[in-house]
Symmetry: C2
Subunit: 263 residues, 2 copies
């Protein structure tokens, strides 16, 4: 056990208390610029993608299981906790006993110059963490140039982080980005914007020419994209199908549009 | 309150006890041929689609909220329960206080004659209830002819039912179907079978001609489709992308294949 830095047994330990706060409080995350990760796949994905992890909490059972793998990451502080304390820290119910405290990823709060004819998805007013995470994960799978959060949920919410399955560390995800800034940078990058809407008079997704890339604007799960925003986009697009379009989940709809964008 | 049939106050009431069992036990569901629904959207979707609902449990708070809507469904037995008892029954944590006990949907345990050049998805060894439900929901959105479960999770598991968002009552979902039976019926229906695999030597999904329909075989989240099954299919297909294909969630991958199938 000599590669461990500390053994923590009390739930009142300041490190443990801070970690719990990072799980439940956005305010705490913003103040400390730290967020929480849980689960072996997520933590090891983050470590192998050189995410700025500053501390690991490992339960006794998890240590037995992951000892060899953990030894690879020498420069990360490792705290041993009891299985019981692991259960208390956990946000998931069934914990795997491995947790990480990670710094905010640098350079994600400002939108850099966009790629000429780049391929992006812009989320506006997306609130469901599961949908947000799934969209990040799918954007990574499909190889988009970036995901841009505007007036949407916190990307460091543990439910979002978990649903990305590590993709948060593989694809650039920008957040709290101002709409004016997005449109200005798209114009510079000569890249068109497409408003995804549920409206049969909009252009059929299947007929859109994405050969010069594009940024797809996706709106809220219930209310869709605000008209004010849709009207600023180059074109309105919609998914035409024979089925019950209202049954299509927001993340699934976004996945299908990204698939067409990347074809 | 005179349209209510009974006021239940005890958690030991036999109706309440049976309902709790239906949530947690597949064995109980199979024995009684009943399953549980929770949440206003799901329950009202089921009622308006004439699902075989035989009993509703409604908390006092939910009754206030949904009284007028509930009055439309005169022939369903309605039991009033306390808010506290509603919290106990609930499978979701945040309950809306409306629950239904529903009979198994008729004719779903045997595969009928399939449609000539029909469009189907076949799930083999799909275990995650969230994925199973999302696939049913997306198949409904896209207008497939049916979803066929073979050696996969229980379609009446509350997590599956919830994730379908009511689509379970709108699209035919067959379950416990034998593979030999599926291949025999597909042949009768002159409909090809496509094995979805992660294999770059398989045919590119984008190049497949689905004009004569097809049944897409989807395998387990981790292990994919058993080779024995893939080799019986007419053709092997794969999703070719530039991104990290292993990041693509099984339900999302299935959604994209269904999108191409239905185009």
């Amino acid at each position: 056990m000599n590669f461990l830095s500390e053994i923590v047994i009390s739930k009142d330990n300041p490190s443990v208390k801070l970690f719990r706060k990072l799980i439940i409080s956005k305010k705490e995350r913003v103040k400390t610029r730290l967020f929480a990760l849980e689960g072996s796949r997520l933590v090891f994905d983050a470590l192998s993608n050189n995410a700025p992890i500053e501390k690991l909490f490992i339960t006794e059972s998890a240590l037995e299981k992951f000892r060899e793998e953990l030894k690879k990451y020498k420069n990360v502080q490792k705290l041993l906790i009891s299985d019981e304390l692991g259960g208390r820290i956990s946000d998931t119910g069934k914990t795997q006993g491995i947790f990480a405290q990670c710094s905010f990823i640098e350079g994600r709060e400002e939108l850099p110059t966009m790629k000429k004819h780049g391929r992006y998805v812009v989320l506006s007013h997306i609130q469901d963490p599961g949908n947000a995470g799934m969209i990040i994960r799918t954007a990574d799978a499909m190889g988009l140039d970036g995901v841009i959060f505007s007036r949407s949920c916190d990307i460091y919410n543990p439910k979002v982080v978990r649903a990305t399955m590590g993709s948060l560390f593989r694809i650039p995800v920008f957040y709290d980005i101002d709409e004016d800034d997005i449109f200005a940078k798209l114009e510079e990058a000569q890249t068109a914007s497409f408003a995804a809407v549920v409206d049969n008079s909009a252009a059929d997704l299947k007929a859109i020419d994405f050969s010069k890339g594009g940024a797809i604007f996706i709106g809220n799960e219930g209310n869709g994209l605000p008209e004010e925003l849709a009207s600023r986009c180059t074109e309105r697009i919609t998914i035409k199908m024979n089925g019950n379009i209202e049954s299509l989940n927001a993340a699934m709809a976004t996945g299908i549009i990204m698939w067409e964008l990347m074809k």
